[in-house]
């Protein structure tokens, strides 16, 4: 049952990604070259809607949050490395599959490369476990937790920031 939900959720998400035209190398590189902010508009809108949704669910006890631990060394190094790969490939791990679904054949090579990268990581993991992965471990931090304020206050600030950014994008025609 869970598996079918996964497939169904993926189909809905993939449909929206395709219709928003974010499954394109030109759009992804457009964002990284600060020329076309379509993917940022999509992503930030999704983050805003989901932040309201999941916190409402958590507040009324219908869902639990699932916070990833903060590990500064791993997240900074891994994040930068991901960024380099992302700009070379022009798709993300999830959007690679979507891009292939709309006929972008180069995404298949990104997927194969991704499997190779994941396999390499499995080999490197024992060495990482005792080095990079131990640097700057701070546990499961959230912004409202660190600031000691209600999550709704942080969501309101996030919304204001996003709307300001959206206004800028529209004004500049990005």
């Amino acid at each position: 049952m869970t598996l079918m939900f996964g497939l169904f959720t993926g189909i809905l998400f993939g449909w929206l990604l395709q219709r928003a035209r974010v499954l394109r190398y030109d759009k992804q590189l457009g964002a990284l070259r600060l020329r076309d902010m379509t993917i940022l508009k999509f992503m930030l809108s999704a983050i805003l809607a989901a932040s309201v949704g999941v916190h409402l669910l958590a507040d009324v006890g219908l869902a639990e949050l699932s916070i990833k631990g903060t590990a500064l060394g791993a997240q900074i190094l891994g994040g930068l490395l991901f960024g380099v790969g992302w700009a070379l490939l022009g798709y993300c791990p999830g959007t690679s599959w979507g891009a292939l679904g709309e006929g972008r054949f180069d995404a298949l090579w990104g997927i194969l490369g991704g499997w190779f990268g994941a396999a390499l990581y499995a080999e490197a993991y024992p060495a990482m476990e005792t080095s990079v992965l131990t640097w700057g471990n701070l546990g499961k931090l959230t912004l409202p937790g660190m600031l000691g304020v209600s999550h709704w206050l942080v969501i309101a600030a996030l919304a204001l920031g996003c709307f300001a950014l959206f206004r800028l994008f529209e004004r500049k025609g990005l």
């Binding site: 998400f13 932040s51 891994g78």
Partner: protein, 175 residues
């Protein structure tokens, strides 16, 4: 066939995607993520070639010991493929392409060059995502929506790495 696919307003599509994520958390208790599925796929492929080696890998076993390898997220990522396939066919925007326009303008018509770069990029991206413990879905969408510090740090670094690399790749280009 339509000449230009005008698509859906990205703000609307994004908001709907956020609602789909909320629904997924409500119904299945699952947040979006994509990069773990690559570990599972790589492990499943490697199991065919070298089963003993996979068995000895503590990283593969973190994921493959609990189930046969196919989980909610693996199906979710497969769903993205089908969703995009259905949507592009329903709107006449499906196209077989192997060279993105801006790539061809910058690097020429060589397929080998594009496929090789895509492969290397995919490998780097996944190595980085596993090190960072998530990709733009897991850290970016799910993480930032939950206001987690890990998500914000990872997201900032994804863009920092991407902006610098894109600038180097396309340096001196106007369009």
């Amino acid at each position: 066939m339509r000449q230009q696919d005008r698509g859906m307003n990205p703000y609307v599509a994004g908001t709907l995607a956020g609602l789909v994520l909320t629904l997924s958390v409500l119904v299945a208790g699952k947040f979006f993520g994509a990069s773990t599925s690559y570990v599972r796929s790589a492990g499943l492929v490697e199991q065919v070639v070298a089963p003993a080696h996979v068995e000895q890998s503590s990283y593969f076993m973190k994921y493959l010991a609990k189930d046969p390898g196919i989980d909610w997220q693996w199906m979710f990522v497969l769903g993205i493929f089908f969703g995009a396939f259905l949507a592009s066919n329903a709107t006449d925007s499906f196209r077989w392409t192997d060279l993105p326009d801006s790539w061809r303008d910058r690097f020429g018509p060589s397929r080998i060059k594009r496929f090789g770069t895509a492969f290397a990029g995919g490998a780097l991206a996944l190595f980085g995502a596993r090190l960072a413990d998530g990709c733009p879905s897991g850290h970016g969408l799910s993480g930032v929506a939950q206001l987690s510090v890990s998500g914000l740090v990872a997201m900032a670094c994804f863009f920092a790495g991407g902006l610098i690399t894109a600038r180097i790749l396309f340096s001196g280009r106007k369009s």
